[in-house]
Symmetry: C2
Subunit: 445 residues, 2 copies
């Protein structure tokens, strides 16, 4: 199990979860069975689909969700909880069941992304951790998916660590790979999730040396002619000439990191070809987003390095996923649907399941959400060709580790590629639009 290997994740939590727990323990309601649901009321304005990411990281964090002596002592010392609650937390192990959309899955407003079936006490303390991870990673994955769709067969490389929190950078690189990126510049992300690490040199390396030729020679001597040389520190045309002079026509690639990338790529391609370096690739890396990538489709560019716009979700740095109780046991021991009444933040009560309706050719035609008791929705069979969307993530406290670690990322990336290909073609348009599928709710009573 990777991720926070040496530190508890239990305090990555909002205080109110523990004060609610304390009050419920005292009132005798903490052990009522509850169903919590993660969903979103809307996609970011203009987006046509969302991408679930972070599921594997959530399961890794859940495995580390333990209140150790250090955590409990601090909670007592800071007056966050009383002794009875501290005692409960010291023994805490999540023993409930969690179903949800597989990582990499496409989603829409109202999709029941994760369903937590547990006591109130066990479910309520997971709210912040689940939302932090899913909201962040899914925001990056949604942007990444638009970028890889725009890039077509050309590889996209993640390089955004410097423009996000240093640990968020790990989650962002991972989420980018879930949505089709082929590598990352970030070493810890590569190590933790078995990703391909990429990168060769910055302008600082050229400036360190007495001239550009010396810098290129030093790089090629150490990294081989297959390396990527950054050619825009001084003058691109001279840079390309020196690059081939030093590395020979077997040079792996040149990188352009400033200026009008489309125009420069054409000129550099002609220059490289004229020099006989027909196999030398061109990678571009300056302030790209999905629109810039699409605009470069006809330019002779071989790969895209994306940073800021990827890790900040291309204008939408978070999702609006919420974690709501949708059913709970009453005083008589019966499970009842519940929902907040406020008009602007209404939610649909009841446990849920979901399936994606497909036509005869396997093209998605809609989202079906079934509502009812946990037992009814668990047993629900989607009609016709619909593909079930829920998988078991945790059963009676047992985490399915197939969704975690490097293996989890690999599966999620495969899943995303497969299910994105099901979508109606207009789902992949970058222009402002409505959700690509609409959602039908089936009430099982």
């Amino acid at each position: 199990m990777t991720g926070h290997p040496t530190r508890s994740s239990a305090l990555l939590t909002d205080k109110y979860e523990l004060t609610m727990l304390q009050a419920a323990l005292a009132a005798g309601t903490a052990h009522r069975r509850c169903v919590f649901e993660v969903f979103t009321r809307r996609l970011p304005a203009g987006r046509r689909y969302g991408v679930v990411a972070g599921t594997g990281r959530f399961l890794e964090a859940l495995a580390d969700f333990r209140f150790g002596e250090q955590e409990v002592d601090w909670l007592l010392a800071d007056g966050v909880v009383d002794e009875a609650t501290a005692q409960y937390l010291a023994d805490f192990r999540f023993s409930g069941t969690i179903r949800g959309y597989a990582e990499g899955e496409i989603y829409f407003p109202g999709s029941p992304l994760m369903v937590v079936d547990a006591t109130f006490a066990e479910g309520v303390v997971l709210e912040t951790l689940a939302l932090s991870i899913l909201n962040h990673d899914s925001a990056v994955a949604a942007a990444a998916s638009r970028m890889t769709a725009a890039a077509g067969d050309r590889p996209c490389l993640e390089m955004g660590a410097r423009r996000t929190h240093e640990e968020a950078a790990v989650g962002a690189a991972r989420a980018a790979v879930v949505a089709g990126f082929v590598g990352t510049s970030h070493l810890e992300a590569a190590r933790r999730y078995g990703l391909t690490a990429i990168g060769t040199a910055a302008h600082a390396f050229t400036l360190l040396h007495d001239d550009e030729e010396q810098a290129f020679a030093a790089q090629v001597a150490s990294l081989g002619a297959g390396t990527t040389l950054l050619v825009d520190t001084y003058d691109v045309t001279q840079g390309v000439e020196r690059a081939i002079k030093v590395a020979g026509t077997g040079l792996g690639a040149v990188r352009l990191d400033s200026g009008d990338l489309g125009v420069q790529a054409v000129e550099v391609r002609q220059q490289l070809d004229a020099l006989g370096a027909t196999g030398t690739r061109i990678t571009v890396t300056s302030d790209l987003d999905e629109h810039a990538i699409a605009a470069l489709a006809s330019a002779p560019v071989d790969s895209y390095g994306v940073g800021t716009q990827l890790v900040t979700g291309s204008g939408h740095p978070t999702c609006s996923m919420v974690y709501k109780v949708v059913a709970r046991e009453n005083a008589a021991g019966e499970l009842e649907r519940v929902a907040k009444a406020s008009a602007s933040k209404a939610s649909v009560g009841g446990a849920k399941n979901a399936a994606r309706a497909l036509d005869a050719r396997g093209r998605a035609t809609g989202e079906i959400v079934a509502v009812g008791s946990p037992e009814a929705v668990a047993a629900w069979e989607a009609p016709g060709r619909a593909r079930p969307l829920h998988v078991d993530l945790v059963v009676d406290g047992e985490i399915d580790t197939a969704y975690t670690g490097a293996e989890g990322v690999r599966r999620a990336a495969e899943h995303h590629a497969r299910v994105r290909a099901e979508l109606p073609l207009n789902a992949l348009r970058l222009s402002v639009g409505d959700p690509a599928l609409s959602t039908k709710v089936v009430d099982l009573g």
Copy 2:
């Protein structure tokens, strides 16, 4: 020292830093003295000032920047570096000197926010870590500063953990407090940096119980009448009535989390006063940003809980700080100014120092940046009433721990309040504008 206490920060790094290191070690240039500078070419569009935050976290991460056996083994196994580089990294200790703007300081385009004076090898490997931390935390602090300015004397409370990466949430809460927030909902942030943790209950707690009155009674029984009751799960007017019925007129506060907050606050204030609960406060928490806070200035609101817009930088989730080499030793052992030539990404060569010019009443009138050799700029005395902006953060590898941990946050928050008060009044306007001060460069030759 807090922050990542048990894990090395050394792999929170882009691969190219280590490949550059390897090539420079092989070429014999790795130990040339270099000056690296963190600066930004621009503020986010329309912003009038930036706020430095994350300095303390960077120093904490620097203390943990060690390539242990685990890290070195992985770097070799993944083929990131060769044996000679691995050997260098195993012994790595930063022994250079870092000066910079104190945490909480205001900045403008071109401000030399951090100046790293070290060998190329020691300076180049800190690029990603420094930028990740400073770009993230400063983006949150800049948004937080606008919010606390708009809130005036009313306290702002940080509640955004669920809308950002789970570890970024810690940095975000900390940065919010640097810029004037008085507390955070996030337990780990409170623990790690000695912040005030806040929060009582969510809608889930009301929904757990058979009716709202039971839920309120359970909360008051456990947390006391001084607690905050969330009154908008069903009907606000009934909620307020029940809250006072259960808690009495000594109820601490009610929280509104949906609807038209300004209109509701007026109605709730009238209702509370009519019920005799004249001391019961009103806190509001639904999708606030600095503009919504400003719009509520005349409403009877006592405190603001801010989430999404705070942790996402209120439209600008990252800063555009870069880390550039501005001077380096040449083959002859002399320090030379260097700079990238590309028109759109030009930088000013040379080590720098800075001061804020003040008028006779202590009001800031401009930013002065001195450029020259590290020795000349270190000895530079700002003219007239100007306030020096650089402090020593690390001297010959020795970290000044006064800037780290809980003490560092306290100092940074005090500093921010003091230096924001120096700014021209129009600096605090929320409308789109230009940088509040312009920058004058003094070349010391």
